[in-house]
Symmetry: D2
């Protein structure tokens, strides 16, 4: 199974009406077109940034179907699939595949802490239900489940279509371990924005980022500089965009990315409650950061 995913993989947001109740699919379409126009190498709908966890089943399906149609194979798509129950995750996985997803990203959400056997079985069930490749996603800060590298590699070995790993713990040493224990054969992706430079240097195949909604050129220039071995340039590009990367992480991706899109001409509403939109002070900071980077709307 060859791996088509590399470089800058942009997350979509999920636009809502002003009261947070209705989906705004036309705005979603515009944001997808922006990502494609910005040159991302792939698009990832319904991730953490896309507030997938806050949607009803019906809304989730609408967003998945609409996103895949709008992407229209212009770039590869990888749909995030997550549900507290294995049955629910399997349903979403099948739905995404049926509607054309090129791959799935699977985060094992947990209320009750999961054992390694339970996590393995969860991936096994999802893997058996679809044919497309799966990117295992480790992000204990949102999922409550931290998968050690040894478990991750066991899942990769035992579940055929789990072929990629996304690491978001923020600990670069996890990527070293993936590289060493995976003997360079398991492509890994970075999901922690402030590690963008180091992850590429350590061998990450791609960077999954919501920043591509706001500064896609800078994201790509960084990737290209590393690919070209231009270390000084990569470092300069990284430190240039780092304040924005830290700001969106600290301020919450849905709130900050949605505010940034509004500043650059695309109204997409606020995050769904209880998550707040960016406050005025945050907006002023974001505006200043974007202006410094030449993208002030």
């Amino acid at each position: 199974m060859t791996n088509r995913f590399h470089g800058i993989i942009g997350y979509t947001i999920t636009p809502f009406s002003a009261d947070g109740e209705q989906l705004d699919l036309p705005a979603l379409g515009q944001s997808i077109d922006r990502l494609v126009a910005g040159g991302v190498h792939a698009i990832a709908p319904l991730g953490s940034t896309g507030e997938g966890a806050y949607l009803s089943d019906s809304e989730w399906q609408q967003v998945a179907q609409y996103s895949l149609e709008r992407i229209g194979k212009r770039v590869p798509s990888i749909v995030s699939v997550s549900d507290l129950t294995t049955a629910g995750a399997v349903r979403r996985a099948r739905f995404a595949q049926q509607h054309g997803a090129d791959a799935l990203m699977v985060l094992p959400a947990a209320y009750w802490k999961l054992s390694e056997a339970e996590i393995l079985q969860h991936y096994r069930a999802i893997g058996a239900a679809v044919d497309v490749p799966i990117m295992l996603y480790n992000n204990p800060a949102t999922s409550g489940t931290d998968m050690p590298v040894e478990l991750i590699l066991r899942i990769v070995r035992e579940v055929d279509n789990v072929t990629m790993v996304k690491e978001s713990t923020g600990d670069i040493q996890r990527m070293h371990k993936l590289q060493l224990l995976g003997e360079g054969q398991v492509p890994f992706y970075n999901g922690c924005n402030p590690l963008a430079l180091e992850a590429f240097v350590a061998g990450a195949a791609g960077w999954c980022t919501a920043a591509a909604n706001l500064i896609p050129e800078l994201n790509q220039q960084l990737y290209k500089a590393v690919l070209a071995g231009e270390l000084e340039q990569a470092k300069a590009l990284f430190y240039r965009q780092l304040p924005l990367l830290e700001f969106i992480l600290k301020g919450g991706l849905p709130a900050t990315i949605k505010a940034g899109l509004a500043m650059t001409g695309l109204a997409v509403g606020e995050p769904r409650r209880p998550v707040f939109g960016l406050d005025d002070s945050g907006k002023a900071t974001l505006q200043a950061l974007l202006k410094q980077l030449g993208n002030a709307g």
Copy 2:
């Protein structure tokens, strides 16, 4: 608003069919009757033990309505209400009130970490939607949100019907702080089984526990010994049941309580996947623990 909740508050489980897909409401009814017969002072449906987080909206409503009817005001009821969205939590809160819940227990579930302002607004919205008293529930291990005592007391002050606090961090010093900063006016409840003795000694009004499905008499004897100031007896009763309390906590409440009910004659199925049922080795240990306590089915 007077407080009717004290003593042993028993959690219900949610029985499923063998494949985990269908609800088994008659078994739920029997488990509720057992709790009442066991002498619990109140019943709490749809908590963590009740796998409320793993139910669809429709299932959640069926379980809430059925539980409240079956309890039938024989003891007070407190229904756990939790949803990642404020709108969803409000809907569940209204539903529970409409169907006769005497109180609600509200845990602020989080995917994206919540700020204090977001948590306060979440409680404010739920409080405004219902008239019944609300027990604020702090359990970072499952919810991903840890509310410091200062925030908890601010919510109690600012939201009229938040009148009780359940603390499940496992740190007895949180209860000291609730007692001192709350000036003894805010009733607090213990949700950490291995702290049962200390919490009562520190002034907890009640103990919310799934153990009441298996050893209700021992739970009550402990409470009564503390009330009577029989310290040596309370200590002996506590250490007697502690191995079981630690076992069910460590083994996962849905898995262990469901296995224990099966051993004592009430088949309630297994937890919903990805959570596993108790394995054979765990069952043997549980059987031995129950036998020591005189409840071996």
Copy 3:
């Protein structure tokens, strides 16, 4: 080997001259007389409160010898022995025994993290060097070494004169585990002031506390109330002294206890640098707390 240690075990401070350079042994003598007059059941020189870690070898020996002479067997003594090297700890242990210590308290200080085998060997070497009983002391916050209950009990089994355990993690469940796994045969002591009530309720044989320098009567009344099974009174006594107990813990024991002694008429200098003495705001708070408790100098 019978155990003579129970109840309130008071820590000594180590008085310095105004510049922190010289020992003030006469003031040390007065503080010891105060502890005895206050009714403590035993005295523990050179613990954390006694700044044992900040003394040169020669100073340490002067303080140990002087303290033991001044105590003069009026109450049992237990001298804290700690050194980064095993050889240094053995030397201090022998010195304390030679000068009449009734027991030793041993904390395994660490720069490089110690393995369980290294910790065991450390206790074995000290145990072999002396005849007096040893109280194993677990306090990861100061020592950097956290000994799980299983390791503690292994050391108790394997090193003959390690017969007592002092637990200062602040987690009451460690004491439960000592009680259950130790089958009630291993006396344990509480070193975390805010757990004073719960530790006694859970079965602690004693409370090692610096608070006995300031409020020895309240400390003892709490102990006696628990012994007498007077739960309501114990609870009231506990909550009465808790604000002071939390203050001295949070403010640093050497700084707060030394300030409190000065307020009550005994000048003992400040902690040795880099540790600061209590600042003016802290002194005002401490004065108010002591006044409330009827000990305002």
Copy 4:
């Protein structure tokens, strides 16, 4: 004050006699000559690897004086100065300067947790006592004190001769923050071996490492590849030495480096108790790792 420290800064070990009691200064001299011959850019005596914390004052002085004489200005020297008391650290700082140290590395060791004001005052006192530049050293795992970047930069601003920072938390984002908040003006050094590549890429001026006792050529080749912007080569060199870097960190630097020196012909004894030497299984692993890297003695 110009900064002469860059590249590979090698730590010395402190050789002992077989029983751990006596210093073996001739062996220390040989190990220093090896470091110089290996091409390190500077030498750092008496650091964590050098067991400085486990030496008596007299031993510490002997090792400092001997090391500085033997280095003999062939490369710059930076002597680690650490003591629980400010007075003791000042004495060591003065001694090192008097005997020719080109710079000092200062770690704020703590028994009682230090406030930011206490840490600042500690550095101020040491800074005022000497003229040579000081490298502030942050390593919470060994010192128990974690200095946030904001505090570090405040100390750099307020204490004239604190001009360099060594970061050993293992979190690369601390270095990003040093670079951004320090506006590229504060040279920082990496003390976490597994971050060697990323730290250089992020802008670290040097890498302080005990590995230079065993694989100095590989350490330097990595540094030179980054300087030359040869990213692919740097990455290959990093992953080649990473298993050894992780092994020495996990196994404890004094134990593993001393074992490695013995394997390559220089007997330096074992670490001082309670720290154990490397066991047979560890020695076999180390031997294999060194053999793979072409340094098998």
